[in-house]
């Protein structure tokens, strides 16, 4: 029994999430000590609401990275699908609920994801190259063919969705209030569905398997091409949903507002212990990593650090966070090679 416990502890210590969680906790406490405002209800709600869009993007990016690829096109993809569906709804003067915006945008997102997926899955091209290319294609269609410009008004359904709140948190000291958007439910729902899919469906396991060894996955009988295509369709759908939420929450549409988010999202995923080489990582870790980035981005002011220093801190966090996990891998290998050599010592 003691052995079992030791084994369990050993396995936990090798996991990334406990360390990450401690770092997260330390950061929160630091901000709390400096400002006394971190654990205030309105601040927590603000952070949760800031997590929605990067969190949704991170779920998609996570899936791709686990499968052994990397996707940088999701912000452009989301921008294009949300812009196309919003302008269409405006043009028909749509007055109904937000569901049609989601439906249209997700449909367009699925088609755009299929575009990525066909090049990556069927033609077996490198994911980074394909998505770098499609980033430009998507942006080009939006700015050229659709002649995109800033839309100050959005359909009423989206506007209402963006302002509707689950509850309102009030800071007892400052009196500031923050709304918890209904969109948080969308994020939570996608997160739960993805967790279940990755853990309890053969499709989810095939993503991990392909990330571990594509050749082995093929030999085992997984349909690698189909799995890859579906991954990118799913990423397109999730990213487009995030796009609709983003526009609804901002109450207006900046076509280029989401572009450039990909690096921070990927950083959060990797910070969460997802192996950039594929095959390893958990959604929990991915969410903690993303949350870390979101908190650093949002709480610098509470720490009394000028916002102009924000990206320096974000960058440092990424280097330290990913560096630590890289060191961990190296030291694990060292321990291994040492244990091989042990018999010599005993013999000598």
């Amino acid at each position: 029994m003691d052995e079992m416990l030791k084994l369990k502890l050993k396995r936990i210590s090798r996991k990334n999430e406990p360390y990450l969680f401690l770092v997260l906790l330390a950061l929160c406490l630091l901000i709390e000590v400096r400002s006394g405002q971190f654990f205030a209800a309105n601040n927590l709600v603000d952070i949760a609401s800031a997590l929605i869009v990067p969190g949704l993007f991170a779920i998609g990016a996570f899936m791709v990275i686990v499968s052994g690829g990397i996707d940088v096109s999701f912000p452009a993809l989301a921008s294009l699908s949300v812009y196309a569906s919003t302008t269409y709804l405006l043009s028909i003067d749509y007055q109904g609920g937000v569901w049609l915006a989601f439906l249209l945008s997700i449909l367009i997102g699925a088609v755009l994801g299929l575009f990525n997926g066909i090049f990556i899955g069927y033609f077996k091209l490198p994911t980074l190259i394909v998505t770098l290319g499609s980033t430009n294609v998507f942006r080009g269609i939006m700015q050229g063919a659709l002649d995109s410009k800033q839309l100050a008004t959005i359909p009423s359904g989206m506007r209402e969705f963006g302002t509707s709140a689950l509850f309102i948190a009030r800071n007892p000291v400052s009196g500031l209030t923050s709304r918890m958007p209904v969109a948080f439910l969308v994020f939570a729902g996608v997160l739960i569905l993805m967790f279940l899919m990755l853990r309890y469906t053969m499709f989810g396991r095939s993503i991990y398997s392909i990330g571990g060894s594509e050749v082995s996955a093929h030999r085992a009988g997984y349909n690698v091409v189909r799995t890859k295509i579906i991954i990118y369709i799913l990423v397109g759908m999730i990213a487009s949903a995030a796009g609709v939420i983003r526009v609804s929450m901002m109450q207006q549409l900046h076509p280029t507002n989401m572009l450039g988010m990909e690096l921070k999202v990927i950083a959060g995923v990797v910070l969460g212990g997802t192996a950039i080489t594929g095959g390893r990582g958990t959604l929990l870790g991915c969410m903690i990593g993303t949350l870390l980035i979101v908190i650093v981005e949002n709480s610098m002011i509470l720490l009394g650090i000028p916002t102009s220093w924000r990206s320096v801190f974000t960058g440092a966090l990424i280097i330290i966070g990913t560096g630590v996990s890289a060191r961990q891998v190296i030291s694990m290998h060292k321990v291994k090679s040492r244990s091989i050599k042990q018999p010599i010592r005993r013999g000598a």
Partner: protein
């Protein structure tokens, strides 16, 4: 032979005009251990892929349990109980042992959802079949090579398996692990499972298989009982050439040693290693995988600098603190894994040959002297008979034996005093092996100090004049090769 489990009849297969298999016929009985041998490119892998349904033969047929197939699909092969264990084991290093074991059967049953409890039951069943003791929740990536192989074997047994094809299963195993593998193979045989054992090592064929088939250039050149095979016949069938063994004889031994090690040691590697190397002799170093032989090899080239004792060259102390220092002292090194450590595979043969002497070929302005470079390349390609139409071809286009010649050429171009070779002919086919041995012997005769570190005992006995046996980090014997034999060396090693 009506009761054959598997019969391959008159199979032909060609790829874009190249005949990979011609008129291949062979059969396996239930419970038979059959060895399939052949040099690289002889058609072994093509044959395996035809048996497992990956390739369709152009002509001929496959009979399984009396049923004839002209076109066998991978699924049909699996349903007929044929399982292949590839050299890379087809595992997922990022997943647990349990998932690795269970995934194939879950997929073949077309399951859509994962039931972790059922997967555990499948995995437990699988490992119990060969009494494989392993933590099912461990990641496969952190297991040893032998354990990974056991995972692959256990997984193959989940199906109603009748034939297991093992593609060079002993390549990365230690002697102890090999004998363990053989025990398991015999256990499988007892249960009526046939094994097709792909190998090019004669001693393994003797030890484990009853019958053999040797392929050469896509044709079956010999088949029969392993008992009737001897080393001479084996290498003739494998290569189509006859070799006469050249035992190395020392002709002119320098009176003073050219290289000495005194009480040399590296932490967790070896200790108290003392020996001397004279000009004109070839010194062998042998031992089991964990004996410290590899560490000694690395130390001699400055890759694991010694932390006690001293090396001497021509009586003067030398410090080999880095490969650069070793090269400066005119010591060359042929590593164990030439592909990852010895060569730039995606670069040209020519660049690989001149890389270590690039400083000498550089003109004052820092530019490479093109004429001198071309001369050097021409010379070494000719001298070592590297088989290439054009030295500007990429190194990866060469066969294993020719790649090893490029590694040799690279060092010889540097006018060495001493050359250390770690497993010089691992993965090299018999013909090239013979040629490389010839080159080394000629070099030693012309005055190069040669140290061969190898666990291939026939190689050591044939080529070295003296052999040091290492065990647990120490030298336990210093033997003259013409006064000893394999069994004596083995008794010191174990």
């Amino acid at each position: 032979m009506a009761d054959s489990l598997l019969k391959v009849v008159d199979v032909y297969k060609s790829f874009v005009g190249v005949k990979a298999l011609q008129d291949v016929t062979f059969s396996i009985q239930p419970g038979e251990i059959h060895c399939l041998a052949g040099e690289n490119g002889s058609g072994k892998s093509t044959l395996i892929k035809i048996i497992s349904g990956v390739y369709t033969p152009d002509a001929g047929s496959i009979e399984i349990n009396g049923r004839q197939y002209n076109k066998l699909t991978p699924i049909e092969a699996i349903n007929n109980g044929i399982q292949v264990i590839y050299q890379d084991f087809s595992i997922f290093p990022n997943l647990t042992v349990m998932e690795n074991l269970a995934v194939n059967s879950e997929l073949s049953e077309h399951r859509k959802l994962v039931n972790w409890k059922r997967m555990r039951t499948i995995a437990e069943d699988a490992v119990s079949k060969i009494d494989f003791d392993v933590d099912l929740d461990e990641l496969v990536g952190s297991l040893s090579v032998a354990q990974k192989q056991m995972v692959a074997i256990s997984r193959a047994l989940i199906f109603n398996t009748k034939l297991i094809i093992m593609d060079e299963p002993t390549t990365a195993l230690t002697k102890r692990e090999v004998s363990n593998l053989f025990k398991i193979i015999l256990k499988l045989k007892e249960r009526g499972i046939s094994i097709l054992f792909v190998s090019h090592k004669l001693n393994e064929m003797y030890e484990i298989s009853e019958n053999f088939t040797i392929l050469r250039n896509g044709k079956v050149v010999a088949t029969g009982s392993t008992k009737e095979l001897d080393a001479e016949k084996f290498s003739f069938h494998m290569t189509g050439r006859k070799f006469t063994k050249r035992h190395y004889r020392v002709e002119r031994l320098s009176s003073e040693p050219m290289f000495e090690a005194k009480q040399a040691g590296v932490q967790n590697g070896f200790e108290d290693v003392t020996f001397s190397l004279h000009k004109g002799e070839i010194l062998g170093v042998t031992g089991l995988l964990d004996s410290g032989r590899t560490e000694l090899a690395l130390s001699l080239f400055g890759m694991r600098p010694i932390d006690s004792g001293q090396f001497y060259m021509y009586g003067k102390p030398v410090t080999l603190s880095s490969p650069k220092a070793a090269i400066h002292n005119k010591i060359g090194f042929v590593p164990e894994d030439r592909l990852s450590e010895g060569l730039f595979l995606p670069q040209s043969i020519a660049d690989n040959v001149v890389i270590s002497e690039i400083d000498r070929l550089t003109k004052k302005a820092g530019l490479v002297d093109k004429e001198k470079r071309a001369e050097e390349i021409e010379k070494w390609v000719r001298e070592l008979a590297i088989a290439t139409p054009d030295p500007n071809n990429l190194c990866q286009t060469l066969s294993g034996g020719n790649q090893q010649r490029v590694v040799l050429a690279k060092w010889l171009a540097c006018n060495l005093e001493m050359l250390v070779l770690n497993g010089p002919t691992v993965g090299v086919d018999i013909g090239s092996k013979h040629d490389i041995h010839g080159i080394l012997q000629d070099l030693a005769k012309s005055g190069l100090g040669v140290i061969i570190i190898s666990d291939d005992l026939p190689e050591v006995l044939e080529n070295c004049s003296r052999v040091l046996v290492m065990k647990a980090g120490r030298i336990v014997a210093d033997l003259e090769t013409d006064k000893t034999d394999e069994s004596v060396i083995l008794s010191y090693m174990m």
